[in-house]
Point group: D2
Chain length 355, copies 4
């Protein structure tokens, strides 16, 4: 069947990527797009690359406009969707690409975001390992929670990249959950389309600019929550530093964790290879290979290289994703596919646009 | 007085930056430039930005051509300068921007470079703290070793950036020397001018590309050596991951180390502020500020931001340098100034070319 | 039905883009990929973004390997395909992305390329206007020549962009074919994947580099040929200057031509709007709007803005394409679709990957 | 002697570059810097690369604050300096980097800028040829007008680049002044530091974006004025198209003009070579060489390549400058040097920062 779809926040970067993917998805019919300052204008004035959607006009982002669609995607600034989603009466599936419904801990929400706490929705990272009740050959996945879900929280792009990087080692008990360090090279599309001086092209070209240094980034509690879910036996701690680099899209997350003493290099590596061996969209590269963000542009793919640094006693996971695709819109659509019983890979590409 | 100068390897990136700085240096007179495949051609064909040096022609890189200058700078591939420098008879000061004379441990040389081991020269990072024999109010500096030196090893660009980032904490005893993690966003000029497919513009634009992952980068033993020199009481261990990002120049090194338990945040921060308070070219930014590589382009400046992440138990030092300037050619000229008794900052700028 | 496909030159940029598009094309089955220095290695070592083709191994580029496929795409350096294609006995459709079969004039070939002249194949720019025998409401298109074609020459990326920019005005008689000026901002993927110093990332980031200045670029005769075909009544002359800019993909061609005196601005504009009103992949933007290359990345779309500068007496056409997609591989596949009777837009996207 | 200096608009890009150059200028003493929204804050918060000026605080931009300095540089938005400069009573030399005092024609001002017309000041492009009263071996230069000037209008960066590109041919009578075409690849720092969505990094990276297409750019009348001054015998007409490309700084202007029929290629080329043979900062490259913007970064240099395209009947001049340096701040300081009798090249570098 075909599902009627609305996208709220269609004039921004996440909204644009949702629409780019939805436009080629055979089961979704984009009926409604909404914006804020651009309401009343053609979508294509904000999204000139979406040539096949030139017929759409941005409407106001109100519950009335959004209600009644089979599926509604929210791509609004953090804090904006909570009140709105509460008013939807007749929406089979709502997916929030903002942070409002990601955290299960009100204390974390208050510490890192502030404002009213919203109920957590099902977390939209299908491949994420979640600790099962009993030992089994195959670990449980977040995918199983998504089947039939009606409210889904798409992940933070940095958070899901780091969580996917670490969960195999945590679940297999080969790395420690404390004293993790991650540094991310990220493109500025993750910061959104609002005009700020520090995000100007002249400020970002030819330079690497760190931000949110020292433990203040909002994706930290989201990662910790995922690692707890993956079976961390200690409270996870991590040093997290994002660095803006001159590429419009992409996250390259370099994450290191201490190897549990006595674990062999082969066992460490096997944890990652086994974890994602059957996954369509998360690939562990052969030993000695590491991914580039270019290879994931526009794709729903997370590429991962794993190194064991015996001298340092750490495993190094380098993971590449497209922050707008696998990091946000791709994860949302993949999760929607699962929730609705559509084959999981429908409308999503595994191949990046490179060079 | 004016010193006659030769630059060997003048057609490459490090050679070009040496010449750019030397061209405006009042005490140095560039007499000779040498190349390899470009010998016999005008310098400006290789270095079209060096308009004031249009009169120079590249000569062959031989001991005969180089001998007899007051000062000779070597900007040759690693392994190429060792045999050459051994044949110089009449050169007051030789400075090697390659790795051949940096390491004091033959075992490290063999493990990370291979080939014949060369005697170590005086290390050219003037601001680097070196542990003195007895406690003193002011730490000793590598600068003191450089006074009157006749053979100097300019540092590896990544190595000196990370060493400067950590030495204050090591020397002050506020951080642990083990389990350090550093991830560097670096521009491709650091990889040199030889034509390799993986360094093509189309391969590097719009993407972040990791390399030398997992403990294989050659600057690791150089950093460990510097940290030992700074007074590390344990054998330093570090996870080191460089990531190529789309900027022609620049290093942004994000380095974290565990804070010694019981140390106050104020004491940690004070270690860095005190260490560089009197330095011309290494600046610790005010609390909450972090540097961008753009702010150091063309300058001999290392900018540093320091964060204490109490939840993670780590200090995070973000340091920005221009890999060709402060990272290589600037360090070489600053060291030459000291060696020859020229005021240390002569011919070097503290201001970057931004945006 | 499904056509068996081989791609020769599969390790390069054009080959990679062909494969990216073919991988999602429902009527083509990629059976064989060939390379030169990479023969024997997995395709994915050269094309790490083509995750769905990880099972393919590069074979030698020989007639024996290529013959017998329904369709063979050639993505070889100029001059390499001519001899090879002559030996194919059992290939229903051969498409050459190189220049060997583009030019109809041996004199042009000799002047701009040199070496043996090969017979011209059907030119693969479906939307290009070709002058019909008699006046008709709708102009004839190159598309009509492609129906049932068995040998197709995919266009030069710059050439087709400029030809599409000018043909409407030439065909409508509203612009002069002489004294055309075009300047193109181009990404380095158009220069191929061979390692050359002047194409290194450090040479191309943060700078604009012109090349082939003053009438030497090989796409000039190809454009002239297309303009003659579009009905130019005078021998076309054009000044053509490409400028490498720091984007991996894309062509932004700014082309100006003198308006035929006495022509109204409305008539000029109407020539372009009418020419492409019914085209799926060539869009003329509304008055006052101009395209960005980002909006065409990965898409088979050519976006065009048209300005009438009455003070200068010239029309200015700004056209954006992805050099690898619409400029090369997309044009090849679109042409193959037409030749084989597959719906023209199959496997091709009209939406770009932006930002 | 040392001149006291104030810079108005010190928090923007042009202001920052003025200060970077002034900081190393031996005859100027930066006393005062002013801003608008940043008044009261340290300069270094806006200009973190200007480490040597960390002691300065931004003041309000008022006549009272600025008056009394020997030299005042204005780097304000267009239209902002006119009223302000009128109130200065005791300033020996005022230099406006904005457009307010550039145009001599009120009609041009009204057509392209609007608002109150201000009296024209001496135009600050020293090397620009100005037609002399009588034939002479050496052409007159704008330099001569600048000696002793007290009010100087620094040029538009695009305008001076194109004017310098064309003036030699116009003055020598070897090119026509009508039907000129120029297309410029420009970096976004020329658009200033105000936050606009279309100037965000994510909008500008990896893409080429045209603007002001079709004869609307404000630098057109400024170029026409310069060409009239260089001796154009017909009213100059030009098609002018700027294209934003992903480099923070730089202009690469590709300008073509029709060669006067019957003129030999040697005579055309000689016009440019002779015109700039004795200039320190404008260099005509040898035949067959063309400049890159990287080679001019931070320098006061304009590099020019000249090609004669006989088939097209046009000369092609490719000129590279740093829009902030030679294009704006360098021109201002060079002009100030001349006006005050300081050696013209003082404080300005001829060598660019590349790669």
């Amino acid at each position: 069947m075909t599902y009627s779809v609305a996208v709220a926040g269609a004039s921004g970067y996440a909204g644009g990527e949702l629409l780019r993917l939805l436009a080629d998805h055979p089961e979704f019919d984009i009926r409604t797009v909404t914006g804020h300052s651009n309401a009343g204008k053609p979508l294509i004035a904000s999204q000139p690359h979406l040539r096949s959607l030139a017929h759409l006009t941005l409407q106001e982002t109100t519950p009335e406009v959004l209600d009644g669609h089979d599926v509604v995607f929210f791509a609004l600034p953090h804090g904006a969707s909570g009140a709105l989603t509460a008013q939807l009466k007749n929406v089979r599936l709502a997916i929030d690409c903002g942070a409002d419904h990601r955290l299960t801990s009100e204390a974390d929400w208050t510490a890192f975001y502030g404002g009213e706490f919203n109920e957590p929705w099902t977390y939209g990272v299908p491949e994420l390992i979640v600790a099962g009740g009993e030992a089994s050959a195959l670990p449980a996945r977040q995918r199983e929670q998504l089947i039939g879900a009606t409210r889904i929280a798409a992940p933070g792009c940095n958070a899901s990249t780091v969580a996917l990087s670490l969960a195999p080692g945590i679940a297999a008990g080969v790395i420690e959950a404390t004293d993790i360090v991650t540094v991310l090279a990220v493109g500025p599309s993750g910061a959104g389309k609002a005009a700020h001086t520090h995000l100007l092209g002249a400020e970002l070209m030819g330079t690497a600019n760190p931000y949110a240094v020292g433990g203040t980034h909002r994706h930290i509690p989201e990662i910790q929550q995922a690692l707890r879910g993956a079976g961390a036996t200690e409270e996870p701690t991590l040093s997290f530093t994002p660095v803006l680099v001159p590429m419009s899209r992409g996250i390259l997350a370099t994450t290191t964790a201490r190897i549990v003493p006595g674990t062999s290099a082969a066992d460490v590596r096997a944890a990652w290879e086994r974890a994602y061996a059957d996954e369509t969209f998360v690939h562990v590269l052969p030993e000695g290979f590491y991914p580039r963000t270019a290879d994931t542009v526009g794709a729903n793919t997370c590429l991962m290289g794993v190194a064991i640094d015996e001298a340092a006693g750490r495993v190094v996971i380098v993971a590449a994703v497209d922050n707008l695709a696998k990091g946000t819109a791709g994860a949302a659509i993949q999760s929607a596919n699962i929730a609705l019983g559509i084959p999981e890979a429908t409308g999503l590409s595994v191949n990046g646009v490179a060079p």
